[in-house]
Amino acid sequence: MDHFRLDLKQTLEDYRSRKVSPTEVVRACLERISATDDKINAFITVFADQALKEARVAETKIFSDPNIWKDLPLLGVPVSIKDNFCTKGGLTTAASRVLDNFIPLYDATVVARLRRAGAVILGKTNLDAWAHGSSTETSDFFTTRNPWDLDRLPGGSSGGSAASVAAQQTIISIGSETAGSIRQPAAWCGVCGLKPSYGRVSRSGLIAMASSLDCPGPVTKSVWDAATVLKVIAGQDSLDATTSPQPVPDYPSLLDSSIKGITVALPQEYFASWVNTEVLSAVSQAVEVLRKLGVKVKKISLFDPQYAIAVYTILQRSEVSSNLARYDGIRYGHDRNHFGQEAKRRIMLGSYALSAGYYDKYYRQALKVRTKICQDFNTAFQEADLILGPVSPSPALPVGAAQNDPMFGEKQDILLEPSAIAGLPGISLPCGFSKEGLPVSFQIIGPRLKEELVLRLAYAYQQVTDWHKQFPTIKLK
């Protein structure tokens, strides 16, 4: 059966009406993985037996208690998880040879919250090793392919998560973003990727990359789905002191609020000449759709995103060198000889930027320019409620494009790095296709902790468009 084609909203409706059961949907997803993943390579590990067992338990609960949904809002829903989130008792590798035998003793908070909401974990998805990259090509294991064109990259670092949603191997997925790693692969794979505000979702149990930037978030088939997953995973956590104490809004119930009169700003620096013309055209058409819905549009100027590349490169490398210093192969995993070249390079540059004599010149200077970027967004949000622009300068690039370019990720994520550095929420959603049939997406950026506003505008767009309902045809054997 084609139950794997359901989005989250339809899955829950069908469970409630007992049209389909969790066992049927989980089995359909597992069969879809078996049929397609030798081509897509989205998964590092699949927990098939455990997922079916959990699905049967969910099924029993649904039959025994019609009011179960209040406590278990994702009961029986299959989810794929990026392999840098710890899953208790389940292999967690960060796509690195250093951790290819690591079995965590506890769940990441995000994973624990999903389980507590009744979700069924299908398996763990591929990423650039340690989430260092924007292609999934620097995974130490294999390259994930873009379901729309198997000769192209899915983006990254949450490329496995985005590809698993686009290939309809799962109903929902969880990714993580430091600066682009949710929104960019979601854009290249034509699905919805939500990067929440820094601190909205706990990082506990997420293998640390750049701790002042890391942010877990959903990758889904629709905005409604993203809002529903965010409601489950967001909120303060005693295991992560950077989580916000502000209450978590009931995002799905706020989606229908009117967007008339909302002001959206278009930064001219994001509609630059170096952005692909097909991308610019599709994003401009999305703006017109929103204008017809009553959204006010104005042009603004933001700090040149080229500077964000430099800030991000220094901050990310520095924090990586600190976070990856702990991997010595004594308590778990393998020794430091198992790091791939990408990780070694990042560790070394970070150590350099933090070392005596260079700290002021690079690291401290980057922290100060970060302040300028934050101030720039604060000013912009005095003029407009939200900011809109392209996600990526181009649609998905061919396999091999990331190799031998030490700045590949930074270049692909240039339009995502400024908002990530400022800790702002952003969503990526599809708005068309290139002539070659590749998805093109736009992003909406909001003020800190205003996910609700970002989601409302994105939801309104999806109510009058159907780009998000289109999925690739994957040729099976």
């Binding site: 035998n101 690591f102 079995i103 003793l105 506890y106 820094y198 601190g199 002042s212 005693s238 002191a241 950077t242 916000s244 104490p245 080229q306 500077y307 590349i309 430099a310 800030v311 490169t313 220094i314 060198s321 210093a325 010595d328 192969g329 004594i330 308590r331 778990y332 995993g333 393998h334 430091r336 000889n337 790091f339 070249q341 070694k344 390079r345 560790i347 070394m348 540059l349 150590s351 350099y352 070392s355 690079y362 401290r364 200077q365 980057a366 922290l367 100060k368 320019v369 970060r370 302040t371 300028k372 934050c374 030490p406 700045m407 930074e410 400022a422 800790g423 800190r448």
Partner: protein
Amino acid sequence: MKGFSTEDIRHLCGLTTLKLSPLVLKQIHAQLSETLIAVEKLKEINTAQLEETNQVTGLTNVFRSDQPRPSQNQANALSNAPAIHQGFFKTQPLFAGKK
């Protein structure tokens, strides 16, 4: 090579306890120099009046109550270790050969 000398790279290998083959060392040398040139752009910004932003949450001094809670037992804590000895992690000697 602009940016880093070979000696710089060797020094960084020592600092980060990373071993590089001669070929990888050469490749990384070139790539690090390329990255360093890209971040030189930071110098263009006048930051004299700017404070540093270490994190963006606005939270300061976050405390929680100091209450005991369950932890991992010794067997669990050792379960991923490649080498153990009498209930402890086994490590390489730090001062091997230095008597």
